[in-house]
Symmetry: C2
Subunit: 489 residues, 2 copies
Amino acid sequence: MPFTTRRTLLRTAAALPLAASMTDRVFAQSADKAVPAAAPKAPVKDVTRTLAHYLVTAKYDDLPENVRKEGVRTLLNWVGVAIGGSHHQTVDIAVSALQPFSGPPQASLFGRKERFDIMNAAFINGVSSHIFDYDDTHLKTIIHPAGPVASAILAYSEMQPVSGKDFLNALVLGVETECRIGNAVYPNHYDVGWHITGTAGVFGSAAAIGKLMNLNEQQMVWAIGLAASQPVGLRESFGSMNKSFNPGRAAANGIFAAVLAAKNYTSSDQMLEAKRGWANTISTKQDYNEITGDLGKRYEAALNTYKPFACGIVMHPAIDAAIQLRNENKLTADQIDHVDLKVHPLVLELTGKTAPHDGLESKFSIYHAVAVAIVEGAGGEKQFSDRAATDPTIVALRGKVKPVVTPGITPAQVDMTIVTKDGRTLHKYIQHAIGSVEVPMTDKQLETKFADLAEGVIPADQARKVMDLCWKVETLENAGDIARTAATA
Amino acid sequence: MPFTTRRTLLRTAAALPLAASMTDRVFAQSADKAVPAAAPKAPVKDVTRTLAHYLVTAKYDDLPENVRKEGVRTLLNWVGVAIGGSHHQTVDIAVSALQPFSGPPQASLFGRKERFDIMNAAFINGVSSHIFDYDDTHLKTIIHPAGPVASAILAYSEMQPVSGKDFLNALVLGVETECRIGNAVYPNHYDVGWHITGTAGVFGSAAAIGKLMNLNEQQMVWAIGLAASQPVGLRESFGSMNKSFNPGRAAANGIFAAVLAAKNYTSSDQMLEAKRGWANTISTKQDYNEITGDLGKRYEAALNTYKPFACGIVMHPAIDAAIQLRNENKLTADQIDHVDLKVHPLVLELTGKTAPHDGLESKFSIYHAVAVAIVEGAGGEKQFSDRAATDPTIVALRGKVKPVVTPGITPAQVDMTIVTKDGRTLHKYIQHAIGSVEVPMTDKQLETKFADLAEGVIPADQARKVMDLCWKVETLENAGDIARTAATA
């Protein structure tokens, strides 16, 4: 390991995704129940064309209010994490490696001053947004939907003005496309080893960019075909910079597919469903109804979720409980005798580190997570930093956290009892943690997360401006203003 | 089909690959026998590292003479087909689609005047070289090895001077890498639907570029990992422009992987062999000994073959026989009474069109192939053009061609008897056609193929210069001269 010390590697937010992904899988089941029963299976033909037809005809005005709203929240959350990760070592490396090859300075890098052509900019912003594994999650597939799509269309909108309405429509359609295609092959496709955010994500980017470029139906069919030819990402990359590479490269590949298709670069007309097409080649499961069923009626894009805490979601219920008890009782560390918590076995399996040495290790410590939540009332990147992991108060308190595996507790749940030195017994049961489909983060909480991530990267007033642009995206004359405002001068 | 008429699509050399691929499979078996028995299986660990170690330590001086020679022939053949395809509609589209996004004019397009950054140039030259499906073939895997590798390193050599020796070493190592990785997963990987030229090709490009960039072992491990994250191509794309997209994008993706790894963008250390790494995710067969066995001793790069005729290889024995009989007997069309030929069933199954209407259809007509070979003494692109397909002499002669499926004739063989009007019976049995591993094309034949492809694209004296540079590549101070000389002013 000649160039990178072990410590540097650990700082790359390396191992976090493992825990996140394993537990996301468990959570996926409960989210699944929220979806209406599937319609009868569509015949296995014209899958690609049906999807393409929908994409080229779907209008902003067709979007239900809740879908628009979730699209806006998806955007705001994503821009925040992209700014937050923008000065990570991983991004510095990507910028320096690609600068000699970039085309015209068409698009901004979030939180940075460099400008790249739209494909390279989309790649780098996509990397940026996934480094902390703190972006959005479609729990049914564990796809992080915004990365491949928002990276692509924000870059495109800087080069070619796009109205806010068209932008939001493209965002929703891109997310819809990748999540539906993901549904069609999940879980088999993910289980065997594909990083589904990158493999399905290419379609999201191609669909969204194709929409903004006003491709006709045949061109959209070809864009989907060229996207299918460029899947990105293997799960073995988790724990390295290669993980955040995947949504970024998916974004770039989708643009590549769409710009070629726009000039009538042809592909197959049945790339998704053909015998040696995408779904049959890349997965042992193919449920095409997930792609073509109820298009324009059922919206996967409405099911997007956002992480309130910068760690695998297996610890989220405990952090949620700890923060609630702290705030309700104005608790401080010195008041605590000990903390009992009843947890699912996965919690100790994945996050059982009793004495984490640094920020990254602390993401795998339920002891640290509860302690820092009580001391600081939060669970953001700062709470999983080297500073927090070695803070004497937090280190002392984590020794008083007593998790016990308890039958009947699901991974989504926790049962916490804080016993104070003065003899009080404070209890909190969490059925669904904040950030789940059932208990979504509030807009206010998304703003706090955004501001927290932007702190130290861009000034607070600039962060405020970017948030305002995101909230009012539907009224913008040019959605490219968002990316321009999120860059540094 | 609003923008492209059926006729235009047919002109894209669309359906040819189907026939080529199916028959290549049959031919693969005989080639297989030429390979020494495999050593005992290597343990499934350190596959990626073992390969990376080999790549960073292998020197030009280590290459056996026959491997060097085949590397030079691989280069010359590839440059010829890349020039030949350079003004196809597919390339025009790619150039016009990507021009707005290209970086600095670092590298030439073969046979054209535009210059692009090395990744986009490699993509376009890779497309160019595969359009006629007339490039080289590693028969054991049906990989077209030069496309992903030569596209990448020729572009790179223009940006960054590379000695001819280093260039040839990188070419061989790139071909070796992709063919060995292809061997490890073939045939299962191909059978399920992957276009192995694109999926394995990315590794070839990454390895060759990584070698030219002098990556250290760890960086080469990461380059392989990032390449593994970007497989390209599905067989369903065969018959569309998307097929030639695949080697081009593989070349670009390999460069992308290597330039990131060169700056220490990390990946997994076991991306090829890990449980959720490349081989397990993308194939049901994994034979890692094909990757790490006898490195530096057994050379897949020495097994490369070149097509003498611009059509699927199932017709090659018949064309070979017809040309030999024609030349030996100075035959002209008017002398022929009829042509009997004993063939394998695949010949009529794949190439049974009795009355092809145009150039592309003629690639699927054994009747046309034999007739044009007798009339023109060749089987290049010109012999499968619209002109040739409608030439009255050839049309008349094809009606006298009588193929008969005959037990005992393999797809590699043909038994031809030409009966002349003056009563002569001229016989030729082909055991292995020209262009096979057993009867390789001569250097002279490669030159004729090259000149034929270059005609009408670049002047004959320029083609001569490019060929000379290819033959003497090992003595060049800067291999970038080849690409520069192959471009138009």
